[in-house]
Amino acid sequence: MDTAVQARPRGGTGHAVRAVGLVVAIGVLVLVFVLSLWVGSRDIPFASTWHVLLHNDGSTEAVIIHDLRVPRGLMGLLVGGALGLAGALMQALTRNPLADPGLLGVEMGAATAVVVAIAFTGVSTVTGYIWFAFAGAAAASVLVYVLGSSGRSAATPERLVLAGAAITAVLVAFVSAVLVLDTQAFNSFRFWDVGALAGRKMDAVAQVAPFILVGVALALGLARSLNVLALGDQTGKALGANLGRTRALGALAVTLLCGAATAAAGPIAFIGLTIPHVARMIAGSDQRWVLPYSLVLAPILLIGSDVVGRVVIAPAELQVGIVTAFLGAPVFIALCRRRKLAQL
């Protein structure tokens, strides 16, 4: 693959330009968030949306906005940001542009735990799945990391990638076997598996928010070390970087972010893999910019898709996991064709 020729980080883009771009992106995110409070299956005029948002007067509109749309929007913000950031982190850690946060086994671990919860414990509510999913995600990623680093030196990218693929395959086999044999479990699982934000209340937001916020802080703190990591193991070591520590902390952050996001909304695969590429197309390959851009761009796509999902087949809803790919892929493909592809 001759990416080296195609993809030099563009030198012309200064810090100021990238900062302005980031501010614009945040502005768009705020707009999309407000839009998600306003648009829904029940028509509420914009002015009264604003009014009841500030003054909770107990009316039906106020209940809809405070109990349904605000938590859902916040959940979109958290989940989207977490997935985008986890994706950027994972691609930087493994130096593999095909890496998505699911690669550490996080998503499949969560799915396995949810299947176990459905099939063997009788848990059947979305909020009931959260702790199962989170435990599964953590267990799977620890397993992948231990297998990936069970050599003389610390975990190298390719080991992690292959270890993740291997453990994911075993978990997939287990999940498929359970689902083939237990059709009732499959019936519940297929609705979790699409990925959705509908029905997430404030208590679910409070459940996952601490994990995601810690993960975000951890990830953003790693940006400099990740830049050194991008120079390769030898150079990185020569420059005094602690590769093992960076990888371990990075893996921890990915687990927190992606585990919490998957637990909250189900597997939404598209965002983690593609948003970091868009971020690199805009901001070059400097992780100090790629990570914040991913953090802001991802929830724009996720909340925007959620709004579209409520409108297109109203009064029914299309799950956000489905809309995300349909909305995001054409933009992503157009960008791939237009721009020079930024290397890792």
Binding site: M1, D2, T3, L98, S150, A173, V180, L181, I333, R337
Partner: protein, 354 residues
């Protein structure tokens, strides 16, 4: 692979020189291939002899030669052999397909799904299942149409003064996700029984496969596998990058298109016959590569490894879980995954960094 390892690979093996030709024989690869072949034959024999109705090896051989009695003839030639042959061919086809794509993209994560094939074929098959309630042959046809159409769309979208490998992969991912979402949507909208059928198809299975499947895959493999081996010789040159390959006399654009077409063709017939046994295409080339210790694509060992994984997996689901008819994809994932885990852990304890 690191530079010292590549140097080691360059001097490994024995060079045969005659007056007109000279070529290198990688001894370890030959040994590994022979060993794999022996294990495949062993698995095949166990598959043919055991089951609800036990047969001895001489009885099976007689039946294969057309001299068996009625019962053993029926069991071997109608029930067990076509399924075994389909499994061998599908396994080999998927493994070669994956090996080609991993080599072309220089990425161990590459398999037919990076160019949209797997998800596209699943969309085709699920549409046939959900909308038309089709037969097994129709589902297979739907899968081929869906897969080939999706791959063609990916190739066309990625074409911009030639296809650059990295752009092809990224666009393949984008399109794959669209198809994946569509599949999940169709599964949530379908009736439960249709959804179960679609889910089972997506895991990949060999239950009830007969000669009609074996013939189709066999015919396609007879054409495509030699072509893959012929073009596969250029893969080692392509791995050095487009400009180096061009300097060494390889028309890289045309070779890449040919190899992608072969890879898609192999994945298409395999998927039509057995569904997307997706992990196979990823794991078999990696396992083969680690056993032979070679750096190249190694299509022959990959094919043998694929055939072995699929037939051994099918044997396991048939014998361990009977009478439940589990799809073979489950066993392939578990078997291939566990083996890969063991191999990786073993390799790393020795401190072989790769």
């Amino acid at each position: 692979m690191s530079a010292p390892a590549r140097e080691r690979a360059a001097v490994r093996g024995r060079v045969v020189r005659t007056a007109h030709v000279s070529f290198r024989v990688a001894e370890r690869a030959v040994v590994v291939c022979l060993a794999l072949l022996a294990v495949v034959v062993g698995v095949g024999l166990v598959t043919l002899t055991t089951g609800d109705f036990e047969l001895t090896v001489p009885e099976v051989v007689k039946a294969l030669l057309g001299q068996g009695d009625g019962a053993s003839d029926f069991i071997v030639l109608t029930l067990r052999l076509p399924r075994l042959v389909t499994g061998l061919l599908v396994g080999a086809a998927l493994a070669v397909s994956g090996a080609i794509l991993q080599s072309l993209s220089g990425n161990p994560l590459a398999s037919p799904d990076i160019i949209g094939f797997v998800q596209g074929s699943a969309t085709g098959a699920i549409l046939v299942i959900v909308l038309a309630d089709g037969s097994m042959v129709q589902i297979g046809a739907g899968a081929v149409v869906g897969g080939v159409a999706t791959s063609a769309v990916v190739y066309v979208l990625a074409f911009k003064q030639g296809v650059q490998g990295f752009r092809l992969i990224l666009i393949g991912i984008g399109v794959s996700f669209v198809m994946l979402s569509l599949n999940k949507y169709l599964i949530t909208r379908a009736s439960l029984s249709d959804a179960i059928a679609a889910q089972a198809w997506q895991v990949g299975g060999l239950n009830g496969r007969g000669w009609e499947h074996a013939q189709v895959v066999g015919a396609a493999a007879a054409v495509l596998l030699p072509l893959a081996l012929y073009f596969g010789r250029r893969l080692a040159l392509m791995e050095m990058g487009d400009s180096t390959a061009k300097g060494l006399g390889v028309d890289s654009e045309r070779t890449r298109l040919a190899l992608i077409a072969i890879s898609v063709g192999l994945a298409a017939v395999a998927t039509a016959a057995a569904g997307p046994v997706s992990f196979l295409a990823l794991a078999a080339p990696q396992l083969a590569r680690r056993l032979t210790g070679s750096s190249g694509a190694g299509l022959v060992p990959a094919a043998l490894m694929g055939a072995l994984l699929l037939t051994a997996g099918d044997l396991a689901v048939q014998r361990l879980f009977s009478p439940a008819q589990l799809p073979v994809g489950i066993a392939t994932g578990a078997l291939g995954g566990l083996y890969l885990i063991w191999l990786l852990a073993h390799e790393w304890r020795r401190g072989v960094a790769r």
